[in-house]
Symmetry: C2
């Protein structure tokens, strides 16, 4: 079984490549290295003792992409991670986000159509729910108008895939709505590699604990949550990676009755920022300096997944908890010196 | 003043090019001829006695587009008509619509950003309103979830432009929401040139009257309208074309207070299908064979524009009525033998 992983050297992509290789899939990686490092390839090889094929291709390069599919017309599945992912940056550079996240998706799907390829997994996000009216969030919760171009690209991406699937029954796709992926591989060979100032909580925490950042900013303590800080569902990236394998198997074995499905991927448990800080201090034995600052525009109060559908239909469940995740993130950080 | 008109050989594009040339604008046309004919260029020249520059470029060809903007970095405005426009086809070929309507929009805007160009007019549609709750429809009416990929591309297009304008105050854009453009230039040198079976009412009527189609199908006579047939706001394409000129002048002279605006372009009057048939029979002195068939999926009951905003802020008003429009469409049809 030959699987293409776009963005395969990114955070979630690289962990998924490892799981694929460990399950003996043949893996072909495309990555443009715009937000990832070629060194990740060594990490993958070091863990798996296998060398996936790697192509440095920018998916916006339509000609190069066509050439690739001309050569690799025999793919059994495509896991499409490649995308830009910083909410704040997307507000400043919306065109970049539409080009990187929508144009490339359309180009990849066009190539799949031409080569009659059918199994496609899309990286979506819980951001499509906005602030959901009910918690935990099921897949039936309404998709709300996106707060940022980034969020909009995920909604639009899902729409494009769904509309394409509707009139092309031979096409088979799953959108996975990630909650908040954190952590690193237990080998500490791969993990999250934010470029510049981290936009997400966990890399900011680990960099602060490592002395690279002066202190952590907690954005708002006046949310209507038990301790006033925002609540999220933090899921270990290896659990997330494993979900891609079961989703892929579901597509390949055509176990799905519909040719387009959506699944939430989270732990089902919400943790506040202060709870995360406490858990981090516990597993790292580090004191974490932090200050409360104003809420960040566009941030929601609370989100955590109802994982019933993934548990039941995919037969997948997150196995690792917040402490496992934070411990692995910290060990990864310590190795980055 | 040098203006780029993409899709400038299409139905609305060609009429707008004529108005631009008659107002002494320098016009550069890009068209890929996928749904238009090079003969339209002769029609334009015949009317205006001027020859606009023409480039056969497919906007999906990023390299070619970059080369074009490298050469034409001094554009004073861009009117972006180029897009696919058949609702039914978009359901069958959604990827084609996203690639033709969204990818190309993003690529054009990216080039404008690189060259620091600022005046942009986007062809949007009343389809963004779906079936509006209140008639006539103002620009404040909510945008409803699109019924088709075509409609979705218009909504998404507006979002992309709006988001880009938000953080780029030097960028200046107007989306024009067309109601139902019909008719042809009074010279009968240019008009609507549907390829294959027309999807819209007027070309189907004129082709039927000309004996090219056996009879007209009226889709549904059980709508909650006075005579049971669907109601639309039919606007003469020359009126529509003139609106583009005033919108362009508004942008160039920076008369707009916001750097992104939306305007409805319609007559403000709704006509039912049966009313259109009667009006056509009157102006053409032809009996039109028609039959009532089932409603067409996705068709709404009634839509017509509140044109107050365009009247007031653009200082534009449709001058031609339904009979003028149908007469011009019929004269155009007669010339197609």
């Amino acid at each position: 079984m030959k699987i293409l992983v776009t963005g395969g050297l990114g955070f979630i992509g690289s962990h998924t490549v490892v799981e694929l290789l460990q399950k003996d899939y043949e893996v072909v990686i495309i990555d443009n290295l715009s937000n990832s490092s070629i060194s990740v390839l060594e990490g993958i090889t070091s863990i798996t003792q296998k060398s996936p094929q790697f192509h440095k291709i920018d998916l916006k390069d339509k000609l190069r992409l066509s050439e690739f599919f001309e050569e690799h017309h025999d793919l059994d599945g495509i896991i499409h991670f490649a995308a830009s992912k910083a909410v704040g940056e997307s507000v400043e550079k919306p065109l970049l986000y539409y080009e990187n996240n929508i144009n490339t998706l359309v180009l990849v799907l066009q190539e799949m159509r031409r080569k009659e390829l059918s199994n496609f997994i899309f990286s979506s996000s819980c951001t499509v729910y906005g602030q959901a009216d009910e918690l935990p969030i099921t897949e039936e919760a309404p998709v709300k108008k996106a707060e940022s171009p980034y969020g909009n690209t995920k909604q639009i991406g899902e729409e494009i895939i769904q509309e394409y699937a509707k009139t092309n029954p031979q096409f088979n796709a799953i959108s996975l709505r990630y909650f908040n992926p954190i952590g690193a591989h237990k080998s500490t060979e791969i993990g999250e590699l934010p470029i510049g100032v981290p936009q997400n909580l966990i890399p900011f925490i680990t960099q602060t604990a490592a002395g690279k950042r002066k202190e952590l900013s907690v954005f708002g303590n006046d949310y209507p949550t038990p301790d006033g800080t925002a609540v999220r569902d933090y899921i270990h990236v290896v659990d997330l990676a494993k979900a891609h394998i079961v989703a892929l198997e579901r597509l390949i074995n055509a176990k799905n009755k519909k040719n387009y499905e959506v699944f939430n991927l989270g732990t089902g448990k919400g943790n506040s920022v202060l709870e995360v800080i406490q858990a981090f201090e516990k597993v790292s034995q580090q004191k974490l300096p932090y200050k409360i600052v104003d809420r960040r525009e566009g941030d929601i109060t609370a989100a955590y997944a109802d994982t019933t559908k993934a548990n039941t239909d995919l037969g997948w469940k997150a196995e690792l908890g917040i402490e496992d995740s934070l411990k692995s993130a910290w060990e990864w950080q310590l190795k980055q010196e």
